[in-house]
Symmetry: C2
Subunit: 391 residues, 2 copies
Amino acid sequence: MLTYFGTQHFAGCACCSIGPFQAMAASGSGLSAATNLEAGEGPRRGAPSGGGLIIDCHGHYTTEPQELLDWRKRQIAAIGDRSQMPSVDSLKINDDQLRQSVEGAQLKLQRERGTAATIFSPRASGMSHHIGDAAVSAAWSRVSNDLIYRLTKLYPKNFIGVCQLPQSPGVEPKTCIAELTRCVEELGFVGCNLNPDPSGGYWKDPPLTDRWWYPLYEKMVELDVPGMIHVSAAANPVFHTTGSHYINGDTTAFMQFLMSDLFKDFPTLRLIIPHGGGAIPYHWGRYRGIAQDQKRPPLSESVLKNVFFDTCVYHQPGIDLLTKVIPAENILFASEMVGAVKGVDPTTGFNFDDTRRYIDGSANLSAEQKRAIFAGNARRVYPRIPASIFN
Amino acid sequence: MLTYFGTQHFAGCACCSIGPFQAMAASGSGLSAATNLEAGEGPRRGAPSGGGLIIDCHGHYTTEPQELLDWRKRQIAAIGDRSQMPSVDSLKINDDQLRQSVEGAQLKLQRERGTAATIFSPRASGMSHHIGDAAVSAAWSRVSNDLIYRLTKLYPKNFIGVCQLPQSPGVEPKTCIAELTRCVEELGFVGCNLNPDPSGGYWKDPPLTDRWWYPLYEKMVELDVPGMIHVSAAANPVFHTTGSHYINGDTTAFMQFLMSDLFKDFPTLRLIIPHGGGAIPYHWGRYRGIAQDQKRPPLSESVLKNVFFDTCVYHQPGIDLLTKVIPAENILFASEMVGAVKGVDPTTGFNFDDTRRYIDGSANLSAEQKRAIFAGNARRVYPRIPASIFN
């Protein structure tokens, strides 16, 4: 019972797994005090150095109201006694609570950093597909996605929805098609998060290039929505959720793509590898070399027409490497703010996750390339982003 | 039977797992033709730009004679019928075969690249601790280590021994103490390779910071030998051995260290994280930030007194990042040549794994720092390296 709130040393961390520290995040503690600023009205840092607006393609709802966490607790507790399972409709959160949860956090940071809109999805570590079965995952995904939807309606200029999928270890991904379709067609979502390891660090399901996943890809292509490859909380105590499991998931997925013909089968499928692509750009020579040794096509042909990296790399030298070795058209601006790293870098005086500064500060990029990274590429990769965002 | 030679798409690759392609590597094919040059007599590229000699701290015996591979095949086949198990003494390889296996490969490359000596251990992917049980692993480690020993006697200026440990999933690491002691005290080895995941990608054993590992660390400290954290072949088909499993192992281990007090318990334990530290330097801001958020000490205090990164990063931008964010005293020169990436980088005309070029070409390092990376740090981290190497 309540294994989700386990205290295993490596399986989670206070800043990203739902747990005792969540209340702090939800109240905005750790951020400077929220004021009465209306969303979108706060002082902006100014237009990005390349001009145009900024879309942050990677944000999670990490400041959920306590009621959602309590609902999840009840759901997990009921895994052993299904008669106690809470209904989806039993979750009661009003609009004021939703506003309060983001005004002092995501919206405040958007204003301060001058990012126009965030592609927003449920907390990544909160998906925890390893808990319960497919039915548990389905209900949990539905309530989580519905809150994201309501936020996109409350703040249509600030949030663009991306959904959690009701994955479950050993369960065919095609079971997620209904929720994906609902989120895209009924809720106006523009993409999904795709967990390559629903087991939470035991890696029991087939690689992303296996036909196991194909029905889901077919639907993603039909709906014209991309997927962000994103693991969830580590249940395996050898991994730290945000420190190693996230990064390993990214690296693992890219290598699967490199060795496969997935994108021959799905030439229009688009996948985003977050956290700057895991270890991939740092070892770009290794991957070019492995592809060559293995008689695979160059990465520009086999992978980079379909795979994109975000900019969640929390220091200038990392972003400089990313922008040096990966073509600008494959990079999407992102911060994952109010996420894995919340503090201020003492060497700069700014938040580690204030990644706009690193793009602004990059000497590798032209103004045109910066505009593409800040917004143009996102518009291309997520064609369902409403045109109103750009007006 | 013969699962070791499995054809799973992601579990191995021709260049690094023992398999049908091994004969090519052993014959030196893919390298330019071996000549009759005596080891150490070939033309050198010249002294490194910082002066002094170069020790490559990361080399594996990837060009083993066919007889060793045949012995291993018989051993694996006998797992189902122990009466057929080959004895350690039944392996017959003469000195000429050993010489032939390295003259056109490792020794030729040492001469061409001007690297004086290689810290040399059995093939990393060949350890495959997931195959068989502890007894199988013990015999396989013994024959593998004995060949390394013979090479260090044939070429005492060129090879310095590091041992494979007879790990086995679920078996306490203290069972490896006898082989470690034999290799150090009787064979003159200077360190060991330590596999953080003997299961081959299922990650079933405790983290490296668990007391499970402490008896082995106590012996390493007593013998004053470091360990290189190095996984072996991926048995889990989601991982590519050299493309993701190796790199993930590195990242995973570092994060375990960051979150633990291991080095308070073992202040003189020294561990090398290969492959440039996995994803760590690229995400150095992330790790500094997580440490800060989690109220851990700065990385310079908690990890960098005991943990070292090698230079197996196969392009100049990667090495530039490594040398920018990681203190030079924590970096050890290495190439893992005749390893994961054997080809020539078409953008430079030189082998991807010719990492000396990237250190020579680094603008971040002083001459003194280059000398430390090329040899001084290795002498400090591996104090059992014979003084004759440096004369």
